[in-house]
Amino acid sequence: MFRNNYDNDSVTFSPQGRIFQVEYAQEAVKQGSVVVGIVSKTHAVLTALKRQAEELSSYQEKILPIDSHYGLALAGLASDARVLSNFMKQQSLASRLTYDRPILLSDITSRIGDRAQTNTQQYGKRPYGVGLLIAGTDAKGTHLFEFQPSGVTSEMVADAIGARSQMARTYLERHLESFEQCGRDELIRHALRALKDTLGQDRELTVENVSLGVGGVGEDFRVVEGQEVAPFLEGLSENRAESGEGAGGESMEVDS
């Protein structure tokens, strides 16, 4: 049943010092639909590709506002994300109640990181099966953090996680230098183009399957969906030829 003897639980090291259960949990993140995040000096943007489980069902919720200054995008087990996001909401409110100040993004991220670590060191628990991008603003400026099931958290300039996210990361790496000075709408378009690069040839970004989260200096974090997204989708295809030269040509199966 198991690939080897060392992958039954998260309290067993393999002879190489790896913890397979944690590595498998990271795979669950790659099963989730892709989410992209970018920060500029003034804004933080999240975008996500929403899946529809069935013809008659609603689309997924991929971006959750947590506090007025930040939100998150998830890839992987949505129910695990709910547990984490409830915790984050509580901690964020506690900061506002006790100190009358918004919680630092680095602070809230390391708190869920610490929680996730516990799940990898104790028998009877399992690692969280979800990856998160946490984006917004605080006293130190705009931020984007990545959270992984292992409990690893990293501050990023731009990032993408989830299925076929390698294509998006390739796009982001190519435009990395330009993000810092981007305005709000330009940053959103970058994020959407990165998102678009993860799609197969026969799929398109639509007002139904795209979710946006935007926050910034002097702008509360807000989820933008439906027709409000439409203006940003216009003109994305035209740019594809220009920006997709390298990305489009490479194998679309890459998702390592």
Binding site: N5, Y6, S10, V11, T12, F13, S14, P15, Q16, G17, R18, I19, S110, G113, D114, A116, Q117, T118, T120, Q121, Q122, Y123, G124, L144, S150, G151, V152, S154, E155, M156, V157, A158, D159, R169, L172, E173, L176
Partner: protein, 293 residues
């Protein structure tokens, strides 16, 4: 590892017939893959340095700090599983804070090392947990000046006995390294992670032992430069990967950090890195020179 696959290595806290706890040994493997971390105990302070491999271009440069402060006078750097390192730090901070609530004074470095050694060891005792996949280096400065009791409001009697011996020198720099087994020793120079062998070889060349070098033990500023150089030397084996050098220090109350554990100022770090690169180039030239001869 002849006993791999015999079943004695599948659960923590189980001895193999030859008396080994394999899960602890495997945890050490996790450490051996981590970026190199070192600590140097100098005459007038402690330096901690870390080779932080850049795993993605998308990471924010100079963010993601990994050397942490515990209380205000202690630094912790570790190599191995990052989240385990954060767990260790979080516990160390709790220990320091609980020490303060009991004794109304900062925890001595030796006591923190002792308590953390005990904590890490406890994670080798039960099958319900796994050992820490990190080796941590703990360095700090125990105040050499008289520390007032936390919350003290006055200065106490100006005359009469106070139980104090005048002229006694206390405190100083301390450095410890704690392994996944819970084992810990005090060090003059400590190294862990991937490049530990090269780093140890370099550390052994430094004048660090006050018993043999007396007043000749290297100063904190020299320590900073040596630490940067040693990290660069240790990085030689994984030259193809980019890395960031993270470096912190803690000095005497009378020194540059005023007894606090802080990041080494940018200017000083960059100067140390410049010298480190130059020293490496120098070595290369020497080798080339020898070849020509």
């Amino acid at each position: 590892m002849t006993s791999i696959g015999t079943g004695y290595d599948l659960s923590n806290s189980v001895f193999s017939p030859d008396g080994r706890n394999f899960q602890v040994e495997y945890a050490v493997k996790a450490v051996e893959n981590g970026g190199t971390a070192i600590g140097i105990r100098c005459k007038d302070g402690v330096v901690l340095a870390l080779e932080k491999l850049v795993t993605s271009k998308l990471l924010k440069p100079n963010a993601n700090k990994r050397i942490a402060t515990v209380d205000r006078n202690i630094g912790v750097v570790n190599s191995g599983l990052l989240p385990d390192g954060r767990h260790f730090i979080s516990r160390a901070r709790d220990e320091a804070s609980s020490w303060r609530s009991t004794y109304k004074a900062p925890i001595p470095i030796s006591s923190l090392a002792n308590r953390m050694g005990a904590y890490v060891q406890a994670y080798t005792l039960y099958s319900s947990v796994r050992p820490f996949g990190i080796t941590a280096i703990v360095g700090g400065w125990d105040a050499e000046t008289e520390v007032s009791v936390d919350g003290a409001v006055g200065s106490g009697p100006k005359i009469g006995s106070g139980g104090k011996t005048p002229g006694v020198k206390e405190g100083g720099p301390y450095l410890y390294m704690i392994e996944p087994s819970g084992l810990y020793w005090g060090y003059y120079g400590a190294a862990t992670g991937k490049g530990r062998q090269a780093a140890k070889a370099e550390l052994e060349k430094l004048k660090l032992d006050p018993k043999t070098h007396g007043e000749g033990v290297i100063t904190l500023e020299e320590g900073v430069k040596e630490a940067a150089r040693i990290i660069y030397v240790a990085h030689e084996d994984s030259k193809d990967k980019d890395f960031e050098l993270e470096m912190t220090w803690v000095s005497a109350v009378s020194g540059p950090t005023k007894g606090r554990h802080e990041e080494v100022p940018k200017a000083l770090r960059e100067e140390a890195e410049r010298l480190a690169k130059k020293a490496l180039e120098g070595e290369d030239e020497e080798e080339e020179g020898k070849m020509e001869e």
